[in-house]
Amino acid sequence: MKLWKWRIFIIPLTLFSACGLSPLANHRNAQDQGRDQGKTPSEVSDAASKTPCPVPFPKTGFCAELKFDSKPNDNDLAAFTLHFWNAESGSPSGPYMDPPYPVSVKHLMPSMTMRVHPIHFEHSKDQDGSPIPGAYRGTEMEFSMLGAWSIFIDLKKGPDTVEEGVISIEI
C-alpha cells in the first residue's frame, strides 16, 4: 500500500529510465563499426601479424595466426586462412609447420546459447593437391548476429582437446 502511494514518482521514473537508455538514442551503426571500435577484425589481424605469437599454444610450443579474407560481417559467409609455426624457430611470416595434433576450428557467441553451423575447414593444398604444412583454410563461417564472438582453435586428440587458442572479435 505504501508503494502504491509513491506511484506518482515510481511510474514516471521507470518510464524516464527506460527512455534514457533507449537503443535509438544510444547506439552505434554497423557501417561505423571500424571507426567506433578503433579496430576492425582485419586490423586486429594486421596488429596480430606484428606480434611474434598472436595465438599461443604453450603446451605444444606452437603459435598460430588467423587472417580473414575480408572484414567479417553478419550477412556474408566469412573465409579465413590459419597458419601454424613453431614458437622457437618460426615467425608469422614462416616457416609454417603442422602442430602435433589435428586442428579444428569452431566459433560461437558467448552471450547466446544457440547452434552455430560448423565451418568448412581443411588443410590448404598446393597445385598438386598435396597439403601445405602449417596452412589451413576455413570457409562458410557465419556470424548470425552483431556483437562479440569467440573463435576457438583446438588441437584435438580424438574427442579430447589437448590445447585451445581463443580469438575474440567484434562483428
Binding site: L15, S22, H27, R28, N29, N75, S111, T113
Partner: protein, 307 residues
C-alpha cells in the same frame, strides 16, 4: 462501446505477433482474453517485422547496415472460449516466415511457430459499476515447443528458428479499467521454462537448462467522443534469464531484456467485429540486452460471439 474498445486494445496487443527475430526473444506471453460479455472470440493477425539491430550483452546496441535485411512475416490465429461463467480457455497458433539477405541472396524459411494454450479465471468480475475496482484476470499459459528454435536450427543463419525451444509454463494476471473515455491495462506474467537435450553437432548431446522469465504490459488508450475509434499506447518489458548448458563444455549465456513500445489504432467495425493497427518498436525504450531489436507493423481483426 467504450469498454469494448478498451478490452479490444488489450486483446489486440496480447495477440499481436510482435516478434521479428524468434531466435532472440522479444515476444511476451500474454494470452488473448475474453474481457466482455462474450461466449467466444477469435482474432486473426498479420504482421511484418524487420530487425533493426542487435543489442549485445555489454556495450551499446549496434544498428545493422541498410544492406543487412532480416524480416519476418507472422500470421497468427487466437481463439478463446468461455466454458464456465468465470473460466475461459484459449489457443494461439502462429505461422512464421523469416528471410534474410545473405551474400546477395534472400533465402527464407517458414512454418508453424510455438503454439500456446491458456486457461484464465475472471478473478475480479465487473458485475456492478465501481469507480476504482478494475476488471481482473488470473491466467496460466503453456507454450509448446512446436517449432525449431536456435537450439535445433539446421538452416543457415538460423532462418528456421521460429520458437524458443522449451516447454514453458506462465502464471500471470491482468487488470483493466475504464475511466470515461480513457482505458488502462496492467498485465504481468512470470514463466518457467524446462530443461531439454540439445544436439551439439558432433554426435553428442548436452542438457540445456533455461531459467525464469517474465513480461509486463502497461497500457492506456482513449476513445475520442466515445466513438468507434481508439488510440492507444503501451510499454512492455520482457525479461529472460540466461541458459546453462551442461555437457563436455559447460556454458552459461547471459540474460535477455527488451522493451516493446506499441502504438495502436483500434476501430469497432460492427457490433461483434473490431480491427486494430499496431506499430511496435523495440528500439525506443531500454536498456536492451542480448537481443535482436525489431520494428513491426501488425493488423488484426477480432470477431466476438456474445453470450
Amino acid at each position: 462501446m467504450k469498454f469494448s474498445l478498451g478490452a479490444l486494445f488489450f486483446i489486440a496487443l496480447a495477440a499481436t505477433p510482435s516478434q521479428a527475430a524468434p531466435c532472440c526473444s522479444g515476444a511476451s506471453s500474454l494470452p488473448s482474453l475474453i474481457t466482455g460479455d462474450d461466449q467466444a472470440q477469435m482474432s486473426f493477425g498479420a504482421s511484418q517485422g524487420q530487425v533493426i539491430g542487435d543489442a549485445p550483452n555489454e556495450g551499446t546496441p549496434i544498428f545493422r547496415s541498410s544492406s543487412d535485411f532480416e524480416t519476418s512475416q507472422i500470421l497468427r490465429l487466437d481463439g478463446a472460449y468461455r466454458f464456465l461463467d468465470r473460466f475461459q480457455g484459449g489457443l494461439g497458433i502462429p505461422f512464421i516466415r523469416r528471410s534474410r539477405n545473405i551474400g546477395g541472396n534472400s533465402p527464407s524459411a517458414s512454418g508453424i511457430g510455438d503454439v500456446t494454450l491458456d486457461i484464465a479465471y475472471e478473478a475480479l468480475p465487473e458485475w456492478s459499476y465501481s469507480p476504482w475496482i478494475p476488471h481482473g484476470f488470473i491466467f496460466l499459459q503453456s507454450t509448446l515447443p512446436t517449432s525449431p528454435s536456435v537450439l535445433d536450427s539446421s538452416d543457415p543463419y538460423l532462418l528456421d528458428a521460429r520458437g524458443r525451444g522449451f516447454f514453458s509454463l506462465a502464471l500471470g494476471g491482468a487488470l483493466l479499467k475504464v475511466f470515461g473515455n480513457f482505458d488502462f491495462a496492467l498485465s504481468a506474467e512470470w514463466h518457467r521454462s524446462f530443461a531439454r537435450a540439445m544436439d551439439i553437432g558432433d554426435g553428442t548431446t548436452a542438457e540445456v537448462i533455461p531459467g525464469y522469465g517474465g513480461s509486463a504490459l502497461l497500457g492506456a488508450g482513449v476513445s475520442p467522443w466515445s466513438g468507434p475509434v481508439r488510440f492507444g499506447m503501451s510499454l512492455s518489458p520482457i525479461f529472460e534469464q540466461g541458459i546453462q548448458t551442461e555437457g563436455q563444455a559447460p556454458t552459461s549465456s547471459a540474460s535477455q531484456l527488451v522493451w516493446n513500445t506499441s502504438f495502436s489504432l483500434g476501430y469497432a467495425i460492427l457490433k461483434d467485429y473490431s480491427a486494430s493497427l499496431i506499430y511496435t518498436d523495440q528500439t525506443l525504450m531500454g536498456p536492451a540486452k542480448n537481443v535482436s531489436l525489431s520494428r513491426t507493423v501488425a493488423v488484426s481483426v477480432l470477431k466476438r460471439w456474445a453470450l
